[in-house]
């Protein structure tokens, strides 16, 4: 399928036109981190969702339009916050480096 960013998660089966997708990968020293937790916080900092990363360090959220914060927790790492803007019809790709 076209539209998938190099290195990103495949978007096969996702109706991108109807979703505000936030996805990406967590890495440490260039290696994927498969045992991290990514939390999706809304603009006020409230918890919205949380997913564990896959074996390849990938994660994906179906958010709504607006500004979000991704808070990443992983073993032997300080929590990392990253701001991201989601928009219906587009895919926000985020690489989180611990």
């Amino acid at each position: 399928m076209c539209g998938a960013t190099a290195g990103g998660l495949s978007l096969d089966g996702v109706n991108v036109a109807k979703e505000a997708v936030i996805q990406g990968q967590v890495t440490r020293e260039g290696e994927p981190v498969g045992n991290a937790y990514v939390r999706l916080l809304d603009r006020t900092g409230e918890f919205t969702a949380e997913v564990p990363t896959s074996a390849t360090g990938h994660f994906r959220f179906f958010a709504n339009d607006g500004e979000w914060t991704l808070r990443t927790l992983a073993p032997k790492a300080e929590p990392t916050d990253r701001k991201v803007v989601a928009q219906t019809g587009s895919v926000a790709e985020v690489t989180i480096t611990l």
Partner: protein, 282 residues
Amino acid sequence: MSRENSLVSAQWVEDNLDNDTIVVVEVDEDTSAYDKGHIRGAVKLDWTTELQDQVRRDFVNKAQFEELLSSKGIGNDHTVVLYGGNNNWFAAYAFWYFKLYGHSDVKLLDGGRKKWELDSRELTDEVPSRATTTYAAQEQDHSIRAFRDEAVAAIGVKNLVDVRSPDEYAGRLLAPAHLPQEQAQRAGHVPTSINVPWSKNVNDDGTFKSDEDLKALYADAGIDDSKETIALCRIGERSSLTWFVLKVLLGHESVKNYDGSWTEYGSLVGVPVALGDEPGEA
């Protein structure tokens, strides 16, 4: 039930992995999580196939629960330690469920699977084999389970605590953002219920906040602890976590979990529904 005898740390669990009087049980929303690795010796409970009747919308009955626990090798005298993903949503649900059928010694691993993983503790894919037991359950304890008529009768009378996200409570969403938007016929909340999202109970690592913080949270939200309380969410699992906080950690006398929750209430004919961020009138 109290924090001291119902909540244990990851270190406590690790120190007790070879203790024969303890059975560690994993219960996850993602029922495949166990298969990708679990705490050594832990058995798996599948909430979709093993804790719910497969025909009616209800829990398994007493005889089925007895058969289930017997087959898992869990005896009446075992200390059951529950843990799971999603900040222990389904582990707290299972805790409540074990209490519903009268299991005496049940504990929750503080922080669940996430805390265990963040601590870099060992996971294994080895499935334990346990000798079957002859488990005897008690009749359901309805002092901790609310049904729909009680939820309706509680409007304006008891504390109703809706633990869903603010958008679900207000009626802007039918399910948490990111999960499938399914089930209830109508969006909104039970009039006079107050919204205290479940996530307010826990720290980022999934461990529960201190009793002091939790007391302040519910006092600020306007819970009157001299009144009976009913907790609800969408399908009754997130509200089990709040039930655990109010009943077990804070020791409120009468707290029930309404497991029918919004997927039942929001589909009832003729009941009042409030929309927006305010509790609304009785």
